[in-house]
């Protein structure tokens, strides 16, 4: 089993989908600093993807500092500075755009959307 949630959708570039899912898992603390990250082989077999793609994904994650490679263990999730809030917000980008487009289509204004978001936020126990 993979230590992060992902559901590959047909059509979109596979590597991008995995990169996004991994970063999301890191900010959501599904993956924590020091956790072992799956090998190329496991990633490829679990997701039924080309091993070259799996290799590329891991290389990109290392390059972006999400993972670090250690000779003995393979890749592990890197320690991150606390900052990251802007990055976390960026991960929402596409979802926010979709929400805004839908709201505009329905003729709602920004206050309606904010109220709806706040109500949902409360329901899920946030403050």
């Amino acid at each position: 089993m993979l230590p992060f949630s992902i559901e590959l959708k047909p059509g979109l570039p596979v590597a991008e989908q995995i990169l996004f899912a991994v970063k999301k898992a890191v900010v959501a603390k599904q993956l924590r600093p020091g956790d072992k990250f799956p090998s190329v082989r496991l990633l490829s077999q679990e997701l039924r993807i080309n091993p070259n793609t799996a290799h590329k994904v891991i290389a990109a994650l290392v390059h972006e500092g999400v993972l670090v490679t250690t000779p003995a263990v393979g890749s592990i999730v890197a320690e991150r500075e606390a900052g990251g809030k802007r990055e976390r917000a960026e991960l929402l980008g596409a979802d926010v755009e979709r929400l805004v487009v839908e709201a505009k289509k329905l003729g709602l204004d920004i206050d309606d959307v904010q109220a709806a978001v706040a109500a949902h936020w409360k329901k899920l126990g946030g403050k």
Partner: protein, 301 residues
């Protein structure tokens, strides 16, 4: 290095040309998808590569050897599974494996055992009594157990249910060795292979229409939608599927290159709202197939 290379390869059946002057190179370490509708020439190409058919003209090299001279040494490094494979149906699964093993010096008993378990194949059952899915898995197992350098799969998924298909892909990935392992897989359905393939080639009417990495294809195609484009503005020459309805204009940009392309759009459409989105491989192939048909009709008209 190229594991497969064809030079002006043609094959006729009587007066019908099934493959026309095909130049194809499959680099080592890639998963290469050969796509195209039924009758495009995929199976004929593969049969020539496997030396089941001689070319009418031109040549193919496989594992560095002319396809007509493929010998025991090359065949021991070559796995081939086809939709219409002839198997000795009177044998049991166990007998099939016992029969195949001595031909391959690299046969891996441990891998054989793992794949048998993973595929849930009944060892004592006769091949004649296996379902289509089981039979394909038995054929795959007998081609994977020796870890071939080149695995050729001709329409491996057609008629398989999703669970068997998934088993099949897992099995194929089981022997993957990064950089050394090459797979050529043919299919009429891009979605079956898009997660696996590095590179896709499109055959149509025996001719090669496209040969590109999936990454570059998805990078350069965009579906563009413009609201309130100025009246009288027409399409650029390479745009595809240009349509206008009401305030909406829609087209496909086949050469998207970021900022440069977006600037060109703005120059053409002024302040109109431009929205673009990436396309799935299936959408790209449909667009290309329609464009080919239009060109063909215009050429004959």
């Amino acid at each position: 290095m190229n594991i497969i290379e064809t030079t002006n390869l043609s094959r006729r059946y009587g007066r019908t040309e099934a493959v026309h002057e095909l130049n194809l190179a499959v680099p080592q370490g890639s998963v290469f998808a050969l796509l195209g509708p039924n009758g495009a020439g995929k199976t004929t190409t593969i049969k020539v590569l496997m030396n089941l058919l001689p070319p009418t003209s031109g040549a193919a090299r496989v594992l560095g050897v002319d396809s007509r001279k493929l010998g025991e040494r090359e065949k021991a490094q070559l796995g081939y599974v086809s939709e219409n494979q002839q198997l000795p149906l009177w044998m049991t699964v166990r007998q099939l494996l016992d029969y195949c093993r001595p031909f391959y010096p690299t046969w891996d008993r441990e891998l054989e055992k793992n794949l048998l378990a993973q595929f849930a194949l009944p060892e004592q059952r006769k091949l004649a009594h296996l379902s289509r899915g089981m039979l394909m898995k038995a054929a795959l197992l007998s081609s994977l157990a020796y870890r071939p350098k080149l695995l050729v799969l001709d329409e491996p998924f057609s008629g398989l249910d999703p669970v068997v298909r998934d088993d099949f892909i897992r099995g194929v990935l089981e022997v993957s060795a990064l950089g050394e392992w090459t797979v050529l897989v043919s299919s009429h359905d891009i979605e079956e292979v898009e997660r696996l393939a590095d590179r896709v080639a499109l055959l149509d009417g025996g001719r090669l229409r496209l040969n590109e990495t999936t990454e570059s294809l998805q990078g350069r195609f965009r579906r563009v939608e413009i609201t309130d484009a100025p009246a009288g503005v027409g399409p650029a020459t390479d745009w595809l599927e240009w349509e206008r309805a009401g305030a909406l204009t829609r087209f496909v940009e086949p050469r998207y290159a970021g900022e440069t392309t977006e600037r060109a759009w703005r120059e053409r459409f002024g302040d109109a709202t431009v929205k673009m989105q990436p396309m799935t491989l299936r959408e790209i192939f449909m667009t290309l197939a329609r464009a080919n048909r239009t060109t063909a009709t215009e050429a004959t008209a």
